[in-house]
């Protein structure tokens, strides 16, 4: 009797031990997030409130010394332009492609599109950069390093995200809605756009937002395309700055003020991404609520 009691107690103790250990893993897992936020706030927070953080631009023909005056203004502008181009292309290609894959699915092409989007989503982002770079080196070397190629590289990363999230969102629209609309004599294209897509809109927009935020954070594909710059936007054919590139370039800079700018940029970028993430989560839960019963 006593023996059995001990064995049971041992099992319970072991189970509790596992629980504690797994609880500790949560701490270990969350620590980097906390650390990143803390470090970027303490090391770069001060910089955010200085005007030069945004406006500083090296004087013309800057020497190595003078080039160290750089703010994030060009980078913010560049990032916005790049995700604008990339996002625009991703929207124009990705949403219609997802509509085809979802609404015209019985043709093999529809399934092929879904499959391809999944495949593309798994390709490392640097390969996208290599792809665009190689293509332009071959066919139009004059704009190899430009906002155009940077935007294209980002769009290659964003398209699979937009296709997958849009397809999922369309999938959640119940078929009875499509049938009801068709039976009323509403043409298929109107049904798809004005009834189905509208109903799926929160999910679609969430997907676009996620894709854009992903594009805003990518540096690898921009290394060989947008290539970075110290000055404000010059034109679509010219190199352009971007926040992740700035962070990468200044990370190991010998000038402490540049490192500090990098920390400020980190804080800026990560805040934007986290806010966008939480916001998209909220939008998604709203859509789920709307679909299952209104008000």
């Amino acid at each position: 009797m006593k023996l059995r009691f001990d064995r049971h107690a041992r099992r319970k103790l072991f189970s509790h031990g596992i629980t504690v250990a797994s609880g500790l893993t949560i701490l270990a897992v969350l620590y980097p997030l906390a650390s990143i936020l803390y470090e970027s706030a303490t090391r770069g927070g001060r910089v955010l409130f200085q005007l030069t953080f945004v406006t500083a631009v090296p004087p013309n023909g800057c020497s190595i010394i003078a080039c160290k005056t750089v703010g994030v203004g060009p980078a913010i502008q560049g990032t916005l332009i790049l995700i604008g181009i990339g996002g625009g292309i991703a929207l124009l290609v990705g949403i219609p492609a997802a509509i085809f894959a979802s609404e015209y699915r019985t043709r093999g092409l529809g399934r092929a599109i879904s499959f391809t989007a999944d495949v593309l989503a798994g390709i490392p982002s640097i390969i996208m950069g290599v792809f665009i770079y190689s293509y332009f080196v071959l066919y139009d070397p004059t704009i190899t390093f430009s906002a155009i190629t940077g935007g294209l590289a980002l769009s290659a990363i964003m398209i699979p995200i937009v296709v997958r999230t849009t397809e999922e969102a369309l999938h959640t629209v119940p078929n009875s809605m499509r049938e009801a609309a068709l039976a009323l004599g509403i043409s298929k294209w109107r049904t798809t756009l004005r009834i189905v897509l509208v109903a799926a809109l929160p999910g679609v927009l969430t997907g676009v937002l996620l894709a854009v935020m992903r594009g805003a954070g990518e540096a690898a594909p921009l290394l060989f395309t947008a290539a970075g710059s110290n000055i404000f936007f010059q034109g679509l054919n010219y190199r352009v700055a971007a926040l992740p590139l700035l962070i990468y370039n200044f990370a190991e800079s010998p000038y402490s003020n540049q490192v500090q700018v990098a920390w400020g940029a980190t804080l800026l970028l990560i805040s934007l991404i986290l806010i966008a993430n939480v916001f998209s989560r909220y939008m998604l839960s709203r859509m789920v609520r709307k679909m299952s019963g209104g008000a």
């Binding site: 019985t106 809605m177 068709l182 009323l184 009834i195 209104g294 008000a295």
Partner: protein, 251 residues
């Protein structure tokens, strides 16, 4: 009652290579209620979905034969046009979940053609009155459609279909998801509708057919067994199969 509104001629409908209904021929009279009855899987839904060309929206679905509306084959016309003349109410109420009551009813008017706000308002009120829902929703016409009960939602779907001003109204087991009181309301409404429309109703409930329909068709395993005035079909069926079904020996 009298003239033929829709005539079905040698109709066979396939899913892939399997025929769900074979070689069906019958005529639905104008301004009357025709019921289609039969055991589960006999092809009632398939048949009615061929009448407004909804059958072909299913994957690998095909149709052979003719369906004439006022003498013209609907399969030779633009399906969208056909569906405006032949409306449908489905088994489970399917109002557009993201829209209000008003927007649901007015959707066909807003999407097909240009109508003034006053025209749309009038049409919405008329349709809701025809489907016996107006009194219950007139104070909350902009409330979400999903705030209505199941029976109300189905009447909303009927109003929505009527607002498109069809000539024929198809109803695919419209009461099967509803409670008896809601069912009674809808049956009453169907009897009134036949004054202005031609109604074809699929039902698995024989008593319902006996209550509301002027004519009844009995389907079994995809074939039309018998079609005639309801009273005659139920009291003096011509086919022994019909008699067996009606007396409850199967199905």
């Amino acid at each position: 009652m009298g003239a033929t509104k829709m005539k079905v001629s040698g109709l066979t409908a396939f899913y892939g290579n399997k025929p769900a209904i074979s070689d069906i021929s019958l005529e639905f009279p104008d301004h009357a209620v025709s019921a289609i009855i039969g055991p589960s899987g006999c092809g009632k839904s398939t048949l009615i979905r061929c009448l407004n060309r909804m059958h072909e929206t299913a994957p690998r679905a095909r149709v052979a034969g003719q369906v004439l509306l006022d003498g013209e084959d609907i399969y030779a016309q633009d399906p969208t046009r056909v569906r405006r003349r032949v409306g449908m109410v489905f088994q489970r109420p399917n109002p557009f979940v993201t829209m209000s009551i008003y927007n649901n009813v007015s959707v066909s008017l807003r999407f097909n053609g240009h109508h003034s706000r006053e025209e749309i308002d009038r049409a919405v009120v008329r349709s809701l009155e025809q489907s016996a829902l107006w009194d219950e929703v007139k104070d909350r016409i902009d409330a979400p459609a999903m705030s209505l009960s199941g029976g109300q939602q189905q009447r909303l779907c009927i109003a929505r279909a009527l607002a498109a001003e069809p000539e024929v109204l198809l109803m695919d087991e419209p009461c099967s998801a509803l409670d008896p009181i809601a069912t009674a309301k809808i049956e009453e409404l169907v009897s009134r509708l036949k004054k202005e429309y031609t109604v074809v109703i699929v039902t698995h409930n024989m008593q319902q057919a006996a209550r509301v329909a002027d004519f009844t068709a009995f389907l079994y395993l995809g074939k039309l067994i018998e079609f005639g005035p309801t009273e005659q079909l139920f009291e003096r069926p011509k086919e022994s199969l019909t008699e067996a079904y009606i007396t409850g020996r199967f199905g």
